[in-house]
Every structure is written in structure tokens, then in C-alpha cells.
Symmetry: C2
Subunit: 265 residues, 2 copies
Amino acid sequence: MKTDRDNSADLSAQIADAIRDSIVSGALIVDQRLPSEAELADAYDVSRPTIREALKRLAAQSLIRTQRGAFGGAFVNRLSFDEARAQLATTTTLLISMNDVSFDRACEARFSLERACAPLAADRRGEDHLAAMAAEIARQGRADLSDEAFCASDVAFHLALTEAAGNPVLTYHLAGAIEAMQPLMNMITYTARSRAAIIARHRAILDSAAARDGDGINAALDDLETYTKSLAHMVMAERAARAKQRAAERADHNTAAALFGFEQS
Amino acid sequence: MKTDRDNSADLSAQIADAIRDSIVSGALIVDQRLPSEAELADAYDVSRPTIREALKRLAAQSLIRTQRGAFGGAFVNRLSFDEARAQLATTTTLLISMNDVSFDRACEARFSLERACAPLAADRRGEDHLAAMAAEIARQGRADLSDEAFCASDVAFHLALTEAAGNPVLTYHLAGAIEAMQPLMNMITYTARSRAAIIARHRAILDSAAARDGDGINAALDDLETYTKSLAHMVMAERAARAKQRAAERADHNTAAALFGFEQS
DNA sequence: TGCAATTTAAATGTCAGACTTTTAAATGTC
DNA sequence: GACATTTAAAAGTCTGACATTTAAATTGCA
């Protein structure tokens, strides 16, 4: 095993890449034990801390898991759909927050993706999926539900819809996207939204799913998308108006206050 | 800053989580410099190697980048769409290979996702997108193209289609899925596929996009999905038949050969 | 003999301290 | 003012040690 000492990249990164390649290519299979840190250090001709950094990189991507103790070590990890979905959701959340994606674009992407499961969901939904969706709708109707809990139930409802499509790969992608974006959308619209309006759309989705009407599901999702966007536009317009008003009021004051960073609440 | 020493989790994992939370919550913003490793070690009351392991975990997720030298250090990284897409693709590849997803399921998910961009692509495609797709089709027609290059061009063609939708978030999800699954699909079908058949479908997609016909795009994608699945079924049936034949031939031989691991090519 | 308690060894987790290399800023020189 | 040199800060790496965990091997006891 050789590493390129003249390479600009870290040794730990090179080693991590080498091991990752072995996993992706199938040379290392699920649950297989890697050599111990000391053996790897010897094999790659580096010190143990360097090997450890490489292993931590892989652990951060859920590619391996480690176990202490005798006969412990690093094992190739079976990546589960749930783990992968959680990773996808956090990555997507960060991606959106760091790249000033407009609300409309994020909303559009989220619903475009969710509509991808409608035909399959209409075709394959079982009673259990309908029941799960109905249960979330019922929960959403409870007046004593916190905003956070309402949002979580909203996510759960849409997750149930994607699961009705009976395709875990599709669910992984869609649920990851929804998990990432629904909370962002809620954060913006929760002051203005009507729970009843959202529940009505959820019910339309459920009814269409029950009737095995894929186009009906998509129509309801379209409707929900339009409603969400209009809410966001309202909220944004209001914020802009308040900001403008504040600016005008500031202009009436003497400039000194502004210079000291005075800002009216 | 405190860490739970009684916690079963690694210190480096705890610290990585703490820093990640700071980034996700916005307490640390893009391009902001983290304290030096020595300062972090002091702040969290751990040794520098432990801090380094935590930072490597974050680096593996592209959450930070590090820079050597004076005034270097760890900086919050702006997650780019391309980086995120590459991560998504490798994660998806592993997810599928480790969870024995059937070819049909993977194929179904891939095309269901791609269809999500059709309405938007039809609406927003520009001349540049059409040109990019046409260029890939032209490349695919060259007889001297290797299988790998054909596959890469195939991916590039579909990437161009997703980009025509003009929504980077959507492109991120769809292109990540396509990048992950197209090579898998090629690996199975490349022995049986007809390049002309694929090019014809690509041309149908391009023509529909040019005509701003979203339904036409989806029809062509449906067609491509059906073709791909039928190819796979053919290949699998052939393999199964060969395996059966081999088994029958083995039975004719004396058992000794089998005991020595003899296997007919 | 069979089971329980103990020991042991192998492995990861953590630490301390030193040295190397890189890099940009500060300084000095022409 | 432009260019070369010095310097200091920081990441990268290594060595060696110790702590902790864990399962297997061993021992002790009934």
C-alpha cells in the first residue's frame, strides 16, 4: 500500500480515499473487519494518529463503525436507508441555507420532487399507508398542538405519502428533500398559515390516494404549493413594508441615533 | 464549552457534533475562521489529536476546509451544489449496492425522479440547454466511443435536461440520483443495449424539450425506462439460463472437480 | 465435568510533547 | 516603491505512553 508523499493532500485524506475506494469497489464487503489501526499504520507507513484521522473521516460518512475492546476494530458499515436519509436532509438544509436559494425555488423543487411519487403511490398504497396519513391529519387537527409538533406531523404525513410508492430508493430521495425543506418553509410561513387550509389539502391528498387517483394527488400537491408560495409572498411583503416604514421613521429622527445603531423594534 | 465525559460516544464525535450544530444554527457563518486547534483543545479541555479527529469528521462532510500556515486554520466551508451532488451520488451508489435493491426498483426511482423536471424543463429550457443535449447526442453517435465514455455522455445528457429546469436544488437531487444509478444500469445492460435505440430516445427527449412539450419529455423517458428494464430482464434471464446450464453440466461431471472448486467459464 | 469468576490480551480512545512544513505578514534592503 | 528576507503562527506528522473496553482464555469451585 503506497501513499503519495509529494501529494498536496493530507495523508489521512489519501488513506481515507483509498479505503473508501475499496468499499465502493466491493473489495471490502459489509461487516468485514478492517486491519487494526496499528496494522494499517504499518501497511501505509504512517503513524497511528494519521490512520485514526482517516478512519474518523470514513466514520463521519457512516462508511465504517468502530468497536472497542479485543476483537474490536473498524468494520464496514451497512448504510441504512434511514441513515442515508438523515444525511441527505442535513446536507440539503445546509446547501440551501448557504446558497441563498429563494423560497420559491426551494418550494418548487420540493413539490416537484414529491409529485414524482404520486403515480406509484396511487397504484400501490396499502391500507396502512392511508391509515398513517389519516392519523397525521387527525393529529394536525388538535388545537393544542405546538407549531413544532404541527411541522413534524406535516413532515410525517408527506413521508407516509412517499412510502406509499413502495420504493425505498425513491422514499430516500423524496423524504430527505422534504425533511430538509419543510421546516425551512414552516419557519417562514408559520405566522401566517391557516392550519385548516393545510389540513384540507392533506385530506385532498389522502382522498385521492384512497381513490388511487394519481392526478388527484398531484393536483392537491400543486394546490398546496401555490398556497405555500402565496403565504410566503404575503409574509415577505409584510416584512418589506415594515422595513420600509422603519427606514422612513429613522429618517425623521436625527442622524445621531442611527449612527449609534439605534433600531426600532 | 463542555463535553460529557461519561457519554459513551467519542469525544471527537461529541465535539464534531457541537461544531456542526453551530454551523447549522448559523452561529458560525460561511468563511468564518474557527479557533486554532490549540485553542479548541484548550476550550474543550481535550488534547489536540482529539480536536483534529473532530475536525477531520467535519472536513469529510465538506462542512469545513483547512488551510495551513500563518493565519490559516479551519474555515466554515460554503457547500457548493457540485460538491453536494458528488456526495449524494456516492452515498446513493453505496446505499443501493449495500441493500440489494432490485434493478427494477432502482430504475423506477431514477426515472420517476427525472420526470419531476420535465414540466419545468419544457417551460424554461434555453438554447444553451438544447445545444448541450444535442452535443451529447452527437457524441453518442460516434462509433469510436468507448462504453465508459458513452455512459458518461449519457449521464451528461440527462444532467443537461435537469439543468434546463432552471432550479439548482432540483438539479442537485436529480443529477445526484442519475449520476449514482446510470453507471449501475450501464454495468448491467451494456452487453445487450443498442446505442441507436438509446440515441433515438434521447433525440425524442430533445425534440420535446425544443417544442416545450413536457408530456412529450415524460413519454420519451417512460419509453427509455421500459427499454432499460426490458434489456435488464433479457440479460438476467440469459444469466440465469447459463447458470442453470452450468449446474446441469456440473452434475454430469464427477464430484471431485466440484470439490476442488472447479467452475466452467 | 460444568459453570462461574477471574485474568489476560487485543484493540480503540486519549493524552503530552516534540518536530516539520507551509504560509502570509512584517521587516529590511536596494 | 519593489523585491528579498525573516519570522511567527498554524496545520501536519510522529513517537510513546497510558486508559478503557471487551471478548476470549484461564482458573477456581462445586
